[in-house]
Symmetry: C3
Subunit: 157 residues, 3 copies
């Protein structure tokens, strides 16, 4: 596709690639654990790993969809930044997964705040587009500045 | 991205956001059931809920991909309409999931008709593009009208 | 959307549709096996089928994301070609799935080479865009030719 399109999405593509690398890392972890799956204790470890991976994978399409929508509707830099933070949260979730039963720890639906922020970006972007189209006002410049400032708030624990 | 692009996809973005909200609702349901997971009977309930969520999640990327392709290839209004109906069907499927074993009820692959309709839209859109490019005919106007009329047929039970 | 966009993605849409058909085929297989799920031996068969489907579904969003990114960043023909090969590999994986326990066979993460190739295409595309934007060189023509030649290497077993 031409470069005008690429200009608006190349950060999103980079974050997507990063998430794919993380997915492959998760899958390789499970595969390695699976091959060493002999004793009883390791079996529980495999169960946990497999469960953590499944939780991560279940929310993956949701995350991708929201990130791309937010990036296309409003602006790509905050969306990609939120995406990177989501990946960090996911990594921490995967490493620290210590639940006894499947999906029993509080962090089952991790990254709720980031998904909420990205959804908000989508909605603001669409409202801005509708205002521009039917009302004649264009707040996109202001909104992008505010969004970029607000995205740093995601860094708060 | 610029507004010319947004004009053609903002309905799709809205449906995607709606589906994300539904996904979060499913996940919260499972999490809530999981925390109250003490007696034997509730455990079966958790199994069922978890299974219903997994079935929904397994078809989620397929649905997103087909809806976006249909919206981009042909026109967004019928695609978004079919997407909303798909979400309603999914909600009904989730609420009414009463299977004893995993994926054992007839509605395992729910929304087949909607997926078929969306796939058809993609194919028609591509054929129309190829005809336009190599044959010089452009039936897009007619096809969009027919599609919009046909999409109401999805409302039939 | 207008035809200039469709020109650059219609092969990707076709491959996506093909993958959706394959997903539906997998789901129908599981559903059929599930309904005939009475004796003990068939139950094991159902477990295997369900597991194979889940493995395929877990990597499906990853595959879609990488293929679309590669197709948009660089060029669609090699990306779609790699996508078709991925689908063939997945079909072979599904048919030949003979693992006793879940995800225990070496081919758990099938199609690694194809995902790697597609990721490489994304990275090359972005680097080329950045070079073009900040350095003034445009190697896109050369790179596309090289990619199309390299994509045939995926046919090697």
């Amino acid at each position: 596709m031409d470069d005008a399109v690429l200009e608006n999405i190349f950060l999103l593509v980079l974050v997507t690639l990063l998430s794919v690398v993380q997915n492959v890392f998760f899958a390789l972890k499970v595969e390695k654990e699976c091959k060493a799956n002999t004793s009883k204790q390791q079996c529980a470890g495999f169960e946990r790993l497999s469960c953590a991976t499944r939780n991560c994978m279940d929310t993956y399409p949701t995350f991708l969809a929201v990130m791309w929508c937010a990036g296309i509707c409003l602006s790509q830099a905050p969306a990609a930044f939120a995406g990177v933070i989501y990946l960090v949260v996911r990594q921490k979730y995967f490493v620290g997964y210590m639940g006894q039963t499947c999906q029993s720890i509080p962090g089952f639906l991790f990254g709720k705040r980031i998904l909420f922020f990205l959804s908000l970006m989508c909605i603001v972007g669409i409202i801005n587009y509708l205002l521009l189209n039917y009302g004649g006002n264009d707040y996109k410049g202001y909104i992008q500045t505010i969004t970029q400032a607000a995205s740093t708030l995601l860094l708060l624990p």
